[in-house]
């Protein structure tokens, strides 16, 4: 077949058109450039705005949005704006999974910030692991998880308890009563607590769990009254915390003789139970609203001017806030074409910043966070009085209660 001049030109033009229009298209689709298209970086924001846990998750949502707005107002990340895609999973784990899938596959978000409860984190985990995406989880939780697709910025049991438990034993005594809501988080925390107590020669006189959302604590209060424990170690969550404290107070028990030591009572719950019911009890957490640092002052002021002067910040909203800034630092190190969940994960390993609670760092092996646990005693004005701060940041050890297991870069190691 003879190749005519006209035909030749037609052919080259067609081929050229394909190269110009078609190839880059395919090329974009395959590379990570799509994650940062049009001067925007899309991230998902996945906190419940309706349903039972919306009470807390709303504040996490607000802290996340505040941080994103701050980053954008300061010029974004290498000139690119963060675009939050907000979904409401309605406090339902199945909806969490569905919305996560939508954010990762439909919207092609490069990372997602979300979840408060462990149940919702467990529900979205398969989505992020299968799609090799990245999930930023701000809540203190029970540990015992080792995923390469989650960045954990909340405390794990060793960070909240290592200083807290011996301090309480020394101050109040060795007869402990453990009470929690009936699900995995309190059980794992108590599991670790019992190990620590055994180590310090203290005894557990009662370990008890109430149904989630329980609000009738009169029998529990009677038990405290008759058994007189030195310390009541509480991992009751949500509105049950409020009911427990109020009924403890109404029952005439004295926090000076048998204080409740909690891992879950924050400014949020205290505002709802009233300062008089909360006064005298203790909480261990990496962050309190009253913590005195320039970064925290800035955070509290920004939060209040954005969302209302009566709003409180607490130990879950603070990580929700700083993890966005950590995300920004990690992405900043990458070229626009290199931005992908995988490169962000690699870039965020060992990343440090001065958060409102102090200088935090992502542990490169287990992707949890070095934090600054503090002990606070609640006052009748509804704020905490800081009694003790660790002298060093505490390393996150998500498998501390299981000495033969360690979370490493390549996954969970059994020995």
């Amino acid at each position: 077949m003879k190749l005519g001049r006209r035909k030749f030109i037609k052919g080259t033009v067609a081929a050229g058109a394909v190269t110009a229009a078609g190839f880059p298209h395919i090329w974009i689709k395959d590379s990570s450039l799509a994650y940062a298209a049009g001067g925007e970086i899309k991230v998902g924001v996945l906190f419940s705005l309706t349903g039972t846990t919306a009470i807390v998750e709303e504040s996490l949502h607000k802290a996340t949005i505040l941080a994103i707005e701050e980053v954008n107002a300061a010029g974004g990340i290498n000139g690119m704006q963060i675009k939050p895609i907000v979904e409401d999973p309605a406090s339902d784990p199945a909806t969490f999974a569905e919305k996560a899938r939508k954010l990762v596959l439909g919207d092609r978000c490069v990372s997602v910030f979300g979840s408060y409860t462990s149940a919702s984190r467990k529900a979205v985990l398969p989505v992020f692991e299968k799609r090799k995406n990245l999930y930023f989880y701000p809540t203190l939780y029970e540990g015992r998880e080792c995923s390469k697709n989650v960045i954990y910025t909340g405390a794990v049991p060793n960070q909240q308890q290592d200083e807290f438990v011996p301090w309480l034993i020394e101050k109040f005594g060795k007869r402990w009563s453990l009470i929690g809501s009936n699900y995995i988080y309190p059980k794992e925390e108590n599991n670790y607590c019992k190990k620590l107590l055994a180590q310090y020669g203290a005894e557990v006189i009662r370990e008890e769990y109430v149904p989630l959302g329980h609000s009738e604590f009169s029998s529990v209060v009677n038990k405290f009254r008759s058994e007189k424990p030195d310390v009541i170690f509480s991992t009751v969550v949500g509105d049950s915390v409020v009911a427990l404290h109020r009924q403890y107070r109404a029952g005439g028990l004295d926090p000076e003789k048998m204080p409740m030591a909690s891992l879950t009572t924050s400014e949020n719950e205290v505002a709802a139970m009233g300062g008089d019911a909360a006064a005298g009890h203790f909480t261990s957490a990496p962050y309190f609203m009253v913590y005195d640092s320039p970064e925290n002052q800035k955070f509290v002021e920004a939060y209040r001017s954005r969302w209302g002067g009566d709003k409180v910040t607490h130990f879950v909203s603070e990580p929700s806030y700083f993890q966005v800034h950590l995300f920004k630092q990690a992405v900043e190190k990458l070229g626009a074409g290199d931005i992908s969940p995988k490169t962000i994960r690699e870039a965020i390993k060992g990343e440090e910043m001065i958060a409102p609670q102090g200088k935090v760092r992502i542990e490169p092996e287990n992707l949890h966070t070095y934090l600054w646990p503090k002990i606070g005693q609640c006052q009748s004005d509804g704020q905490f009085k800081m009694l003790k701060t660790t002298s060093e940041w505490l390393e996150p050890v998500p498998y501390k209660a299981y000495p033969n297991q360690t979370c490493t870069e390549s996954g969970l190691k059994e020995s």
Partner: protein
Amino acid sequence: METILAQILTGLSIASILLLVALGLAIIYGTTGVINLAHGEFVMIGAYTAWALQTYVGVGLIESLVVIFFTVALFGWIIEKTVIRHLYRRPLDTILATWGIGVMAQQAIRLAVGGELRYVQMPSAMSSSVSILGIEISAFRLFILALSAVIFGFTWYLMYRTSIGMKLRAISQDREIASCFGIQSKRIYGLTFAYGAGLAGLAGALVSPLKSVSPEMGTTYVVDAFMVVVLGGVESLIGTVASSVILGELTGFLAFYSNDTLAKVLVFLAIVVLIRFRPQGLFAAKVRS
């Protein structure tokens, strides 16, 4: 001995809260036959009214109880006039409709005042505990106990000693015949619904200083209230009291000697077994259907 006495008192305290919540439900169901799934939201609205009055008007809980009763009663009356009225001959649809009203009420509150837990102050005179026969008990719980007895007495009087109560009982026995005697069932239904809602509102206001106030708080109460009504038998005021006391004491003792999780399971189990053998409840009044 002291422990047992303390536990009996605790059981009575639980029972008084159950009674407050269930009484309105029992009256509405007994009279109109409507299974009111929005009852928990009436409780919730009562608690929020108490919160609003305290926060924005500065009125204490005790002083605002009357206002709360009439506010929630008005809300109930409006619901009856606008929605329930059209559904009396379709009992299944009332379940769906009242459930929908409940969901809407929750979200309306969330949109209006936000989803945070709210704080209602306990009257300062009752914020500590008192000692009776050597037993420490919360003064506010005693107050609830006393008040629920008063409210029950008043309701009983209303039902059995006034003409409106007589009309109401006549309607619940046979609506057609009662109409033939000139009783305006529409008006009575509206008032019943309002009264039941008002009682639920009071319950919400009274528990708010002991528990927490949130848009979803009603859901747990409505389950408990149904337990009471199912166990006691509908249309029986005495049955409602008796089953409140039984459930309160049972829950209290089981929770004390085991734990609250197990107590809940055992109580539910007992009720399931009971309705298997006595579906009409313990104290069913004989009514022609």
